[in-house]
Subunit: 286 residues, 2 copies
């Protein structure tokens, strides 16, 4: 299959214009209004407040805590730990291993929005729960998810989106997600080549698929930076190719969220464009 | 001399109520209005916008760059580098080594405010210029300056303040100073004892004089957290004992500032309360 977005091909950084739509559906298809769809299309993300009630959020948080405890010593690669300690930071594939989060992935408040934006039926490409602790929360450097999904998973086109359900209040100062609104229009092809089994390390610390600082400075100048700030129960929908990252967190306020990636059934994975073995199913369901 | 704020005495964490005033002067003494003084007294800090013009800021920034280049390889302890590289992060004692910053320390827009708040004549206890780079800017963990100045420098009372002149825009997301408004009312005595010549390492990474996480969580719950956000040319005045810190910075936007500590001439340093040798003059002028 033609590689519309070549990256990590051994050449340097290159900017490629987006070749795919952002919004595939119409206002009459689903929950989002015409104005909300326009905002998503223009910025590459949309933050909705009060999507889940405090009671629902409490139940999700309890389930997250339960899973983190239950799997504290689980050697499965689905359980990812902090780079400098053994504290669990994320658990993948929770839509398969937790009944609570399986139901949440199917909740129309999430799935129908994904369907509407992607203009087709959808499936879960990846799911995880994240706990970013207070006091010493780690930063996450800038990246486009699509770059990785394309190169390492063989996702052919930009027809996927991420959903982050906030289980705690996101303040400006506790390491909220930072996004560059509009950056989803540009694909930044990254330098280097992907090492074999890169994912085993990249979940702890990203080394490949990272744009160079000059590109990031230019993107920030062109598009600016916005923080996804909102109370627990808010939901952020964001395009697969929007540039995002987050600062560390010295405040006592932890951040936890549930994270689903919906992919269009018209955009099923092919062989990874890196030419390597595909990543395991807990990172990219096939 | 009686130690009104014992800390690092080998005992655990302890909260001591502030025994000193916050504002010593009166509205009629100087530049700040009664309302501004009340805000400073209540919160322990005051942010004034547009204190310096864009032209003045540009001149300060040029002087900062000049000094950072000139002293890039200067082995003097006044020049402090990033923990994980040799890039210069701060230069101390610039009110003695740079004519531009000597004049700035004397500028009535800073010095007269310090005089008014501290209710007496003042002198520079410490000065420095800081450059917090973009992309990989380091965090600075929570601390009270007074704790260090008291234990390591022998500053007897809380009658000093810091002034930070912003040379770049401080956004919520590029690692602005975070403060807990009202926390200057509580002195958190820290655990441990001060190792000899602690300052040689503490400027790179603080290990002693750091409050425990439980105290910080309680302080944040009681007082909240505020970010000192404002355009270049803003000036932040903050009390010697207000709890503050800053997150790292993955954005392309660097932050640089000029930093002066004014101490009241009625609050001259005595022997350090740690019982050790005083720190050198570039950290604490005597």
């Amino acid at each position: 299959m033609e590689d519309r977005y070549p990256s990590r091909t051994g050449e340097g950084t290159r900017w490629i214009e987006r070749k795919d739509p952002v919004v595939y559906g119409r206002p009459e298809d689903g929950p989002l209004s015409a104005e909300e769809l326009r905002e998503y299309e223009a910025k590459g993300f949309l933050l909705l407040r009060d999507v889940f009630s405090p009671e629902e959020v409490r139940a999700f948080r309890e389930e997250l805590r339960r899973l983190f405890e239950e799997r504290a010593h689980d050697p499965s690669p689905e359980v990812v730990r902090e780079p400098e300690s053994d504290v669990v930071r994320s658990i993948f594939r929770v839509h398969r291993t937790s009944e609570v989060f399986r139901r949440l992935a199917d909740d129309p408040r999430l799935r129908d929005v994904a369907r509407q934006i992607l203009g087709s039926d959808v499936y879960i490409h990846q799911s995880r729960i994240n706990y970013k602790k207070g006091f010493h929360g780690q930063e996450f450097f800038w990246h486009s998810d699509f770059e990785t999904w394309h190169v390492e998973d063989g996702m052919p086109r930009m027809r996927a989106l991420s959903v982050s359900v906030a289980l705690e209040d996101n303040f400006p100062f506790n390491g909220p997600l930072l996004l560059m609104p509009g950056s989803h229009r540009v694909f930044v092809a990254c330098p280097g080549r992907t090492p074999e089994r890169h994912y085993e390390r990249s979940l702890r610390r990203q080394e490949y698929g990272v744009p160079d600082e000059e590109s990031l400075a230019r993107l920030a100048e062109r598009y600016g930076i916005e923080a996804a700030v909102g109370p627990a129960g808010s939901v952020l929908f964001f395009d697969s190719n929007v540039m995002h990252g987050s600062n560390g967190n010295i405040t006592p306020y932890p951040r936890s969220n549930v994270f689903f990636v919906y992919n269009s059934v018209e955009n099923r994975l092919v062989a990874p464009f890196s030419g390597q073995e595909p990543r395991p199913a807990y990172l990219a369901e096939r």
